[in-house]
Amino acid sequence: MKALDKLSSHLRTRLVDLRRAKEQGRKIVGYTPGGYLPEELVLACGAIPICLIRGGDHAPVELSGAYICRWIDTFCRAQIGYGVSGDDPYYGIVDLLAIPITDNHIRAISDVLDYNTNIEIFPFGVPHMKEKVAFDYYLHGITRLKARLEELTGVEITDSKLREAISLCNRERELLKEISLMRQSQPAPISGKDFVALNHGSFLADKRIMVETLESVYNELKEQSAPASEGPRILLTGSTLAMGDYRVIETVEAAGGAIVIEEFAEGIRPYWEKVKASGDVMAALADCYFTRRAPPGWFRPGKERRDFLIKLAKDFNVAGVIWYQLMYRESYKTESYYFPSLLKRETGLPMLTLESDYDQAETEQLRTRIETFIETIRR
C-alpha cells in the first residue's frame, strides 16, 4: 500500500527529524505505553511525543539482568535494557520520560531508570478502577504533568492550544477507528499486519503526517481493498504488542489466519472514543483517556474489559481468539485461566494462549501451536 510505504520511509528517518527538532530547541517527551498519556498535552506546548514501544528483541532484556531480576514482564525489562544501555537513540534523545504508572512492571521501569540513568522521569498514577475518586486522581496526575511540561518548554498550555491538539488527535483516533471497522467485512480489506503497522507508526510519526497517512489509507481502502486472507478470522488480544514483535502476527497470517481486530493493554493505541469538545478541557481529556475506554488487564474487577473482548469477538465475527502475552505479567496470566470458559459460554469460541519472553527459541513452538489452532477453527 502506497501510504504505508510513505509512512515507513518517514519512520526510517524519524530519528534524524527528532535530532534536528531538538537542535532547533524543541523538546522530546517520551512516554511508556498503555494509552494513558494524553499526547495533546505534549503537542500543545510544541513538544514532540514519542511512545517507547519497541520490543521483540531479547538483547535489551538480557542487558536488564544487571539492574533487575528476571521476574518482571519481558517488555518492561527490554525498556530497562534500552534505557541503561547508554546508547539507545530513543532513550538518549528524550528530555522527559513521562510514565503513567499502571502496574508494578511499569513502576519497575520508572524506579530502575530513575536510579540508574540521568533521564528525567515523571511518573503519575493510573488507578485500577473507574470510580470518581479514581478519575479525580488521574486528573490530578495529568494536571501535574501539564505544569511540568509548561516548565520544560517555557510554553503555556492554553485551552485553545489544547483544543487544537485534541482536534488533531481526535482525527487520528477517528481514522483508525473507521479503518478498523472496515475489517468487519469479509474478507477484511486490510491485513492485521498492516493495521498494526499503522497503529504502531502513530507512536513515533509526526502527528500531521500520521493523520495524512491515515486519510490516504482510508481513501485507498474505500476505492480498492488490499484484501487480507479469507481464512479464519481472529481476535488477537493480550498484554503487550510491541513495535518489532511481529512473530505471532506473521505466523498467523502465514498459516492462513486473518487477524481482523486487536485489543492490547500496551502497543495498540486506543481509538474507539474521541475527546469531547465541550466543558473543562483537562476533565475532557481525563474522561476520554481514563474513563471512556476499555480498561487494561490490571483493572479490578476486570469485567468491563472481558465484556469488551466478547463484544469485539461478536462484532468482528471472529472464528477464534488468540491471547498473546509476555512472561511474568501476572494480571494477564491469571485472567487467561478463566477467560476461555467465559468466552466459550458467551460466544462458543475457542481461545489459544501464547506466551513469549522475546526468545528466538520459541519460534517453532509458536508456529506449531498457531498452525494447529488455525486448522482447528478452519473447520
Binding site: H58, E62, L63, A66, D357, D359, Q360, A361
Partner: protein
Amino acid sequence: MIVAGVDIGAATAKAVILDGDELLAFSIIPTGFSVARAAEAVTEDALAKSRLSMGNLEYIISTGYGRRAVRFSNKVLTEIICHAAGVSSVVPQAGTIIDIGGQDSKVIGLDGNGKVRDFVMNDKCAAGTGRFLEVMAGVLGVAISEAGALSLLSREPCSISSTCTVFAESEMVSLRAEGKSREDMLAGIHKAMAHRIAIMGQSVGFRQEVVFAGGVAKNVGMKKALEDEIGLEILVPEEPQIMGALGAAILAKAELVKMHQAS
C-alpha cells in the same frame, strides 16, 4: 605447618597440600558418584605426591559443592571465600575473580586487601556454566579441550540467541545444517556465554586485575570472549582449577596460626 585444602566440585575434586607458604603438591580427579570417596582419594593422591600421609596434616579446610561431606576436614568454608584467598595469593592485585565451573559460575569482587567485597552467582541455570560449553561442543563433535582454540579461528561468529541450554542445542543443530563452520559456531557459543557472565557480574563490577579461575579458565576462547565483553585484560593463573583448594589451604594455615596465638 602442613595443611590441606580440599575443594569438592560437582565435576572435579581438587586438593592442595601446603607446608607453610610452600606448595608441596596438588591433585585433580573427577568427583564421580561418591563425594566422600572423591574427597579421600584426591587428598590421598596429593599426599602421595608430597610423600606425606593423613597423619601429617595439622589442619584441613574443605570447600565446594561437596564441602560438608568431607568427613576429615576441620572446617568448612564456601568456595567464594576460598577463591578469594587462593587467587589473591597468586595475584595480589586481584580486583575481580570470574569462576566458571562445571555447574555454576560466579563473579567475586575483592577489596584492596584480597577480601571478598561482593559476589554474585548463578547456580540455577546451566546456560552460564561449563555444562553449556560441554553440550554445545558435543553437538559439534569437538572435544571440550579443543573448543576454545578452535573458536579463536572464527572470522564471523554466529549469533546464538537462545538463552537456554536446551534450546541453544537445537539452535546449533540448525546452524550446522545450514552449513555454518564449527569455528564460527563455537565462537558464537563462547560469545553468548561471555555476554551472560558479563551481565551477571556487572552489579559486582569488573575491576582490575580481573582473574579467571575454575575449570573453564583453561579455555583460551573463553578468555578472549570475556575480555571482549568486559573490555579489560584477564589474567589466568597457571593452575586455575586449584584456586579454591589453594585458598582453602591458605585459610587452613591462617586458622592454625590463630590457634597457636590463642594458646
